[in-house]
Each structure stands twice: as C-alpha cells, then as structure tokens.
C-alpha cells in the first residue's frame, strides 16, 4: 500500500530525514514514536506531499513518485488525494459548519452532487458520534468534537491511507478517549493508518507495528509487544524509560 524508498528531506542545511525506508501493507496500523524533532511530522508530511521530499520515492497504491528527478505537477495532487490527514490542531475550516467541513472535499474537489455528499457526510459524522452537531460551527465544538470532525473530513475523500499527526496532544485529557475510540473503530474496519502519537496504550492495543524514530532515521520497528518489552537499541530503551 505504502512504499517509501531512500527518502530524504533537508530544510536548507538541516538534514531532517536521512534515508527512510518503509513498507506498510493494506489495512495495517503503524504507530510512529520518537523524541521531539526526530522528524515524525516531516515524514508524515512527505507522505502527502505537504513537504516535497528532497530525494527518494514515495509510492501509494500503484502511484509511485520519485523525487530524485523532477516530478510532474499533475501527479502530486494525485498522490495527495490518496491520503487523508488529521492534524494536531484540527485545522477545521472555521467559516463552515461541521457538515460543510466534511462535504467540502467531495463537492469541491471531486465534484460530487451536493445531496449525495450531504448524505455521506451525515453518515460519517454519525459514525464519529456527532449526528447532533451537523450544523455547529467549529468554535461551538469541544476539541475532541472538532478532531472527530477532522477525521470525518479526511474520511470523506475515501483515502487509501489516513495519516494522523499527534491527533490527541492538543486535547484536554478527558477528551482524548473519544478520539482514540473513533480511531480504533477505523482500525478495526481495516483502514490503513499511520499514526504519530504519544499514546502508548493506543499503540499497544491497535498498532500492528511500532516504529521508533530518532534524528531523522528509523532506529527500529517491531510489533508493539516486542518493541515495548524488548527494545533492541539503547536509544529506544532510553526513550521508553523516559516516558514511564
């Protein structure tokens, strides 16, 4: 489903990602952990091309883009359409209601019929537990509710992969659970997901694989059980100890 080969990203002289190689199968849930500044966000953003990689290739489904050479402007939106992104700060459109937020992609980007898009958006919002909040503006919703709208908005485009960048770290502790619950349901339904998070319980329960990143490289990757109980590298061990 996702294949990343020799991916590199520099910001000026700063090498943020150094030779990342990654393969994620359909329906897999991969959790990325690592210290601040290790490049987790940058890796996610390279997967949906909010950052253009400096070198290497990104493949999603059967579309492969190689950034070692020039990449056609047409293909970048193609790749982007296959991914959905859930942001740490939600980034809902403040001038639109919850349901308008969710309908926006299908209507504007895919040109879907409004009536049809409305029905689908309603279903999605019902699924994330917001059936009674369709016509609320973002400022009228709690953080947890906003983030669930964010998930529904990403789902509305029928992406092949959902990317989550610390989806719960801006939330009050009592609101974290409702968002994680929605994410768990998606995982159970077979959604392919890449999740950057500090929620170790979520990783333990839901992830097929946990990746530990540090200083722009993947230090180790393993099943959650193995990685948490039996880390192979000192850096991983140190990081896990720090969390305890």
């Amino acid at each position: 489903m996702i294949k990343v080969n020799h991916l590199m990203k520099n910001f000026g002289d700063l090498q943020v990602l150094k030779d990342i190689n990654l393969e994620i199968g359909k329906g897999q849930v991969v959790v990325i952990i690592g210290p601040s500044g290790s490049g987790k966000t940058t890796l996610l953003r390279c997967l949906n091309l909010l950052e253009v990689p400096t070198k290497g290739s990104v493949q999603i489904g059967d579309l492969n883009l190689d950034f070692s050479g020039p990449v056609s402007k047409k293909q970048m939106p193609q790749l982007r359409k296959r991914t959905g992104m859930v942001f740490q700060s939600y980034n809902l459109f403040p001038h639109m209601t919850a349901i308008q937020n969710v309908m926006e992609g299908p209507v504007t980007v895919k040109g879907e019929d409004k009536q049809k898009a409305y029905q689908k958006a309603k279903q999605l919002l019902t699924k994330v537990g917001l059936a009674d909040k369709l016509d609320f503006y973002p400022f009228q919703l709690s953080g947890g509710q906003q983030q669930r709208v964010g998930i529904a908005r990403a789902m509305a485009m029928d992406p092949d992969v959902l990317l989550f960048d610390e989806p719960t770290s801006a939330l009050d502790p009592e609101l974290v659970g409702e968002v994680l619950k929605v994410m768990k349901e998606l995982a159970v339904e077979g959604m392919t997901m890449v999740v950057v998070t500090h929620e170790m319980n979520f990783a333990r329960e839901v992830a097929d694989e946990v990746i530990f990143m540090d200083q722009g490289v993947i230090v180790e990757r393993n099943t959650p059980d193995e990685l948490f109980t039996n880390p192979q590298h000192d850096r991983t061990r140190q990081f896990l100890n720090m969390l305890k």
Partner: protein, 224 residues
C-alpha cells in the same frame, strides 16, 4: 434662527442640486470605483504573493507608484495630461480610472495582509483534501480573508466617499463641484460649503452604521 431669509432660501434651493450631485456622481463614483478597485486589489495582492518574480515585481511597482504620488496629480495626468498623447477622456471616465487605480493599490495591501493573516494550517487542510491552489484560495482562504478585511475596507470606502470631492478639479459635476458653483453665484461660500460638509457627514454616518451591521454579521462564526 441665525440665518437671514435670503440665506435660508439659498440653503433650501441648493439642497436638491447638492444631493443630486452626491447621489448621481459622488456615490456612484464611489461604488463603481470601489468594485473595480477591489477586483484590482485581489489580483494585485495575489500577484504580489505569487512566487513569479515578474508578477510580484509589476504588482509591487504599481502599488509603489500609486501610493507614492498624490491622487490629485494622478487625476491631472489622466485628464489634462493624456490628451497630449492623443488620449482624451471625459471627466467622469477619467475619474473612474483614477479612483479605481487608487483604490486598487491601497486595498491590495489590506487584502494581502488579510490573506497572510490566515494560518498556514488552513492552506494545508485544503491541500490535504486534494484541493488545488485556486480551490483552496477560493473556498478556504478568501472567505476568511474577506472577513478580516471588512473593517479596514469599510474604512477605505468611507474615505473614498470623501475623496471623490477631488473629482471636482477635473470637472466632474459631483457634489463639491456643485457647491463651488453655487457658492460662486451666491457669494455665500461658508453657508454652502458647510451645507455640503453636513451632507458628506450624513452619508458617512449611514455608511458607518452599515459597516457595524456587516461586521456583526461576519463575526457569527467566531467565538466571542
């Protein structure tokens, strides 16, 4: 009252011509040039924000020239200057061109600042659901930028109403030119100019009410 009968009569008889000058010329000039100016402003702001050096260069030069020269001089160049290279325009079209160019330059700075004030995450959220640059601009950024720019643009609009009095110098028969003519024939400049001033003031008062109403309306999706 402290007006003599004759003065009272002058006020009475000049009121309608002045009001007509205001409605037919001052306000129409304001409305038309504001709309054209806004379109120019959005185009200019986008050109300045683009990463095509030629486009942003042209936009920058345009804004710099208009902001760096007096409106009065610009109007003179268009109306009295251009005929010497064979372009002769009537007063009203000259004023439309001059004021539109002026509004375009000043408002482009407002629009540009408003666009820049929208958080980067909004663009990214648009891109993340597959939008192109024009789609994100039209659906996500400009509606929010519009809200931000309403207060400063409303101020520009109200200034513009008053600035249209400058069109008198290129012979547009708007309110102030009417006032000059009446003052000259009646020898009551103080009276007539104060009367014109009061009419400007009344118009601006009405406009500020409209401004308040608009701002309240646009605030509805923001927590207060």
């Amino acid at each position: 009252m402290f007006l003599s009968d004759r003065q009272f009569e002058i006020v009475q008889s000049s009121f309608l011509p002045l009001l007509k000058g205001a409605l037919v010329f001052s306000l129409s000039l304001t409305a038309i040039t504001f709309v054209i100016g806004l379109v120019l402003a959005v185009i200019t702001a986008l050109a300045r924000l683009s990463n095509v050096p030629l486009l942003s260069g042209i936009a920058r030069a345009y804004v710099s020239i208009i902001r760096g020269t007096p409106l009065l001089v610009q109007l003179f160049i268009i109306f009295f200057g251009l005929p010497s290279i064979g372009i002769t325009l009537d007063p009203y079209p000259s004023a439309i061109i001059g004021f539109s160019l002026n509004v375009g330059a000043y408002a482009s700075e407002i629009v540009r600042a408003a666009i820049l004030s929208i958080p980067k995450g909004q663009w990214e959220a648009g891109y993340s659901i597959g939008m192109s640059y024009p789609q994100a601009l039209r659906r996500i950024i400009l509606p929010q930028a519009a809200r931000v720019s309403v207060p400063p643009l409303a101020n520009s609009f109200i200034s513009l109403v008053k600035d249209t009095s400058l069109a008198a110098v290129i012979l547009v028969p708007e309110m102030f030119r009417k006032a000059q003519q009446i003052a000259a024939t009646t020898y009551e400049p103080l009276l007539v100019y104060v009367e014109a001033a009061l009419i400007y003031w009344a118009i601006c008062l009405v406009l500020s009410f409209i401004q308040d109403w608009l701002e309240n309306r646009l605030d509805r999706y923001v927590a207060r």
